[in-house]
Symmetry: C2
Subunit: 355 residues, 2 copies
């Protein structure tokens, strides 16, 4: 299980309760504790193997002398179209980013559609166009596809799976379990935009400024980091479902380190903050689709930060914290007021169907 599902394999500091009830709940797809539980208690007993058990965003598959990275992700975002993109561009960015976080150079993509009878062809056309544009811009080739149609009321417009293949090299292999105490925690930009763009579109909220999703391919940013100091980039993650809070929890658990984050250094756009307040959400848990968090060796932190800032996507890159020997596997937020609180995984959905 890649993406949040595989990351959730690392579990959290607490052990979730055994599977409750006998039916799938919405929270099982949330990327939080319920997802982790489903993977641990149901999928892994059947499917577990060394590759699937890796905690990365993409599977590393040795093959005739080289190693490929493979990642799969199904997109069910509602609404299909939103400020800053649609399900097509999102499906390309999301899967390519999973490859990039593993240190792979994305090369190939597949797309599998489930279409609901009655979906306007014009909508589908826009989605496919956005997908094509995103793939072209990223320099990847969509190499296989499949389309199924189901009856009205058996889907919600359309769903799309993308699977990506990337090339891995030995000199650049960031991984979730390679964070070391002292590593500097970087984020490449403002947080919370994708999730709140979706929520605002879904709820018909109108703010003074329309919130735009940050959906973007992060591979160019990763290339900059790689060029700056490949061996010092210890772990990378795109904080999608579950937001920065969940991504950092997963890295902390995988590496057995504590993470300290400074609230004051996080960039939350005003419109995101306002929308979060209206809806009672914490921006730390809101999905992003165009930023990365990374842990780099202290000596390389300045160079890594400069490398990110030199790219338009990383213009707002900043240091937001560090890895510690204290409170292993816990993420602690130092608040603006000088206090601190533990930032835990959420049990289930804060925002369903966000990707």
């Amino acid at each position: 299980m890649t993406a949040s599902a595989s990351r959730s394999l690392s579990g959290g500091p607490e052990c979730p309760a055994p599977l409750a009830g006998d039916r799938v709940q919405l929270g099982h797809g949330s990327g939080g504790k319920l997802s982790a539980q489903l993977v641990k208690d149901l999928f892994l007993p059947h499917l577990g193997n060394d590759v699937l058990g890796q905690l990365g965003d993409a599977a590393v598959v040795p093959m005739v002398g080289i190693e490929l990275a493979v990642s799969t992700d199904t997109f069910v975002v509602s609404p299909i179209e939103f400020p800053g993109g649609n399900i097509g561009s999102l499906a390309v960015h999301g899967t390519l980013n999973d490859l990039a976080m593993q240190g792979a150079r994305p090369r190939y993509l597949t797309a599998g559609f489930v279409l609901e009878e009655g979906l306007p062809l014009a909508t589908l056309d826009r989605v496919v166009a956005a997908m094509a544009r995103a793939a072209r811009d990223a320099g990847v080739l969509l190499v296989a596809g499949d389309t199924k149609v189901v009856e009205r009321g058996r889907a919600d417009g359309l769903y799309v799976n993308t699977t990506g293949i990337g090339a891995l090299e030995a000199d650049f292999r960031p991984a979730p379990d390679l964070v070391r105490p002292g590593d500097v925690l970087l984020v490449s930009g403002a947080i919370g935009r994708h999730g709140m763009a979706i929520m605002a579109a879904r709820e018909g909220l109108s703010f003074r400024t329309a919130i735009t999703s940050d959906s973007a391919c992060l591979a160019p940013l990763v290339e900059r980091l790689r060029a700056a100091s490949p061996a010092d980039v210890h772990a990378l993650r795109d904080p999608t479902r579950g937001g920065v809070a969940s991504a950092l929890n997963e890295l902390a658990t995988a590496s057995g380190v504590g993470v300290e984050m400074d609230e004051g250094s996080l960039l939350v756009p005003d419109d995101v903050r306002a929308a979060c307040e209206v809806l009672g959400l914490d921006p730390l848990y809101v999905a992003n689709e165009g930023i990365l968090v990374g842990f780099v060796a202290p000596a390389a932190a300045d160079a890594a930060l400069a490398a990110l800032q030199a790219h338009p996507l990383g213009r707002d890159a900043r240091v937001i914290g560090r890895a510690t020997v204290d409170h292993p596997r816990l993420v602690v937020l130092r608040t603006r007021l000088g206090g601190s609180r533990v930032v835990d995984l959420l049990p289930g959905d804060q925002l369903p169907r966000i990707c």
Copy 2:
């Protein structure tokens, strides 16, 4: 587009009418003319490239000195469980078979689930177990996965995408456009079982014998053919959506040959024939998930047939026709009564949601 979608790129002898209406219809997912039209008029203008334009079941992607085969397929079969398998085993077999038809040795699989809120966990457990068993039996590794959950009424139990990666070698490269006049047409077993098993389960039909899906991994059969005479195996196809009739049409079109098929040599199990009569269906158009059709050079036909028959899955293998220089791009059935009729592609769904 792999599977029926990519094959349909070859079109049919007639040119379909332009896209009618402005909405997706069920027939757009059928693998027939409407599917081909959607691919040609909507997907390819955006996404077309040399790899996607190949007519095979799996994409061939050159990568650092070797070539991979990649195939993706989303499964929406209803019901989820049926005699002979469930959506999990089907999703493994279907994608591995697409790789095998390309001459690739299947190696890796990914799985992307869309689960409907309220799906019994016990059902999901059976599906995942069947998936694991099928992958293990085939000797492939499931290397990445993803799970999404949508609200009740936004799916139909569960859908699953599988994407497969296989290894290709230069000495064995059957392809849809390599059929030559004179080639012998083989089929590895009885036709119509998968589609009629689904229809019988769906309609609650009860026949004296329950029809069992033929769902199976065909890679071992392909290995036998390869061992027998690799250069003489010109084209292979698993006749899934649209059945043997559609598969042969696609090969005839891709290779520019005519195909003659002898009705009397086709093996249609009695229960399949009876169910087809009740429902007014033609077994030639009914989906199979555990047989292959192949065109082999005449000199190698006996060896190829013997190779198939030596494996349990190919026990009922037989010669059912040949490729001709006559009526290029048309499939003609020589009937038991000595007549002949053209076997064309269907415009849309004979059987929706069969895979």
